[in-house]
């Protein structure tokens, strides 16, 4: 062991000497950077142009980011780079545009020291902002982004194994997002029908979103909602905080987490069903006048606007039922000053 340690220390010193000699000998840092850059395995950018109006875009990619950008132009553009071991199909048929990318399995590629710049592995799709299309995205690894302008779509379905989804300034009839690992962020999104977002591991955040029934699920990750306008809201998380603020929900607000806090701040609803196994529940409203309480905590205290109510509290009057169940944690109901 001692001999091996000495040998390894000797190798370290030799490495250090070589590095220092190379550095003072005029080591070209840019040359080194190029060595680690795998961009040359990808060809030049290919641009596919489509003038005929597209009604549906089906995207099925294995290792690419998807970036959808509205354009004032009348033609659709798809810009991408092909890797030497990729299979690609980009074609239009009866108003359906198919974008398919499959990477050949490399059995002996366990050690890859090279990186690829993000813009090389991103498929940029410019869609005329006057078009209304169905969008169906299946992705194994990669982020999906729709931003930089306003875009109208009929149905949007996004399925991804690993990658984040960022959508902004989007109008659509329906929106379904289902991820295994990745965060979802929706900003200024208007859904005329239902909105469904699910991720196994990742955070779900909504900012200024309109929809009918809204279902948000995260197994491991927080659900954060700000300025949501909807008919009903159901948010669940196994491990993570659920926070809903400044929102207007016409019907029921159901929020359920196993481990994490539940926070409702200035959010209207016809009823609230809030639960947490381990974590506190905090509700802050402008008025408590119409509330009918059904509050229970196994280990914790109930506080209503500064008054301690023990660990069970219920009332029989009030049109809006506030039902809260907590196993370990406090329940706090507050009026905004």
């Amino acid at each position: 062991m001692k001999a091996l340690t000495k040998l390894l220390l000797l190798i370290f010193v030799v490495g250090l000497v070589l590095s220092v000699v190379a550095f003072f000998g005029g080591l070209d840092v840019i040359g080194l950077r190029d060595f680690f850059n795998d961009a040359e395995s990808y060809g030049d950018q290919i641009t596919y142009t489509e003038n005929a109006e597209i009604t549906t875009i089906n995207i099925d990619v294995e290792t690419r980011n998807i970036n959808i950008i509205p354009t004032a132009s009348a033609e659709l553009l798809v810009m991408y780079h092909v890797h030497e071991k990729d299979d690609w199909i980009v074609e239009e048929n009866n108003g359906i545009l198919t974008i398919y990318q499959n990477k050949e399995l490399e059995v002996f590629n366990w050690f890859n020291f090279k990186f690829v710049p993000a813009d090389i592995i991103t498929v940029y799709i410019e869609i005329p902002d006057a078009w209304v299309v169905d969008l169906d995205i299946n992705s194994d690894v990669g982020n999906v982004t729709i931003e930089y302008g306003e875009l109208s779509m009929s149905d949007v379905n996004i399925n991804s194994a690993t990658g984040n989804v960022n959508l902004s300034d989007l109008d659509t009839d329906m929106l379904n997002i289902d991820l295994n690992t990745g965060n979802v962020h929706l900003d200024r999104v208007n859904v005329s029908d239902d909105l469904f977002v699910s991720t196994d591991t990742g955070r779900v955040s909504l900012d200024t979103v309109t929809a009918l029934n809204v279902i948000l699920e995260s197994n491991t990750g927080s659900v954060i909602v700000d300025e949501l306008t909807g008919t009903a809201l159901t948010a669940t998380s196994d491990t993570g905080t659920i926070e809903v603020k400044n929102s207007e929900i016409t019907n029921q607000v159901d929020l359920d987490t196993d481990t994490g806090a539940v926070k409702v701040y200035l959010t209207t609803g016809s009823g609230y069903d809030l639960s947490s196994s381990t974590g506190s529940v905090t509700v802050t409203l402008t008025s408590l006048a119409d509330l009918r309480y059904d509050l229970q905590t196994s280990t914790g205290d109930i506080d209503i606007d500064g008054d301690d109510q023990g660990n069970r509290h219920s009332t029989s009057t009030g049109s809006i039922l506030l039902k809260v169940r907590v196993s370990t944690g406090n329940i706090s109901i507050r009026v905004l000053d």
Binding site: L4, L9, S19, V21, G25, D28, L32, W110, F111
Partner: protein
């Protein structure tokens, strides 16, 4: 008495090394002699002992005294301790805790081994990649230098971690043997 001692020796030899067997035998021989000299009947004395129980209850004490300086000895001691802990109802919680810590230790050892192996294979793959590049002498020298530094640090760290886990495992063996022995003695004194 000789027959009983031979039976005890046979049972002990299935579990312990010769020196350990000798120690235990001489202890019981001495104890029986003492009880005989204080007026007890031999049959009564021998009836009060159960050979299997003796072998089982003495195991933690023997493991504690064992040097456990070779891989074979350490594995044998660990197996024996786990068997004693998990086969004695009073010691099962201790056994579960010991087993959990053992799993952690073994996982860390496997991780260290994996780091060493991947450092070697990764280093070779990197050199192969480097040999096909068009880099200048200084760049190649610089990259080989950085590779050697990273390689040696990774392996040194993994070897130290491996050694540290070995020491920890040995300590755990001693601590849990001691706990098992103390609990066993406490239980005997209550009974």
């Amino acid at each position: 008495m000789k027959t009983w001692l031979r039976e005890l020796e046979r049972e002990l030899k299935r579990r312990f090394y010769d020196e350990e067997v000798k120690d235990v035998l001489s202890y019981y021989e001495e104890m029986i002699q003492e009880r005989l000299s204080s007026g007890e009947q031999l049959d009564d004395i021998l009836e009060s002992y159960n050979i299997r129980d003796i072998a089982k209850s003495i195991t933690p004490e023997v493991i504690m005294k064992r040097t456990n300086d070779t891989y074979k000895k350490a594995v044998k001691s660990t197996k024996q301790l786990v068997a004693v802990l998990l086969s004695t109802p009073l010691l099962i919680p201790l056994g579960v805790l010991y087993l959990s810590l053992l799993i952690f230790a073994v996982s860390m050892m496997i991780a260290s081994g994996a780091v060493i192996l991947s450092s070697i294979v990764g280093g070779i793959a990197f050199l192969a990649d480097l040999s096909q590049s068009n880099l200048g002498t200084n760049e190649v020298m610089g990259l080989i230098g950085m590779l050697l530094m990273t390689f040696s640090l990774m392996i040194l760290f993994s070897l130290w971690m491996f050694r540290w886990i070995q020491i920890l495992t040995k300590k755990l063996l001693y601590i849990f043997s001691k706990l098992a022995r103390n609990k066993g003695e406490k239980n005997e004194s209550i009974n």
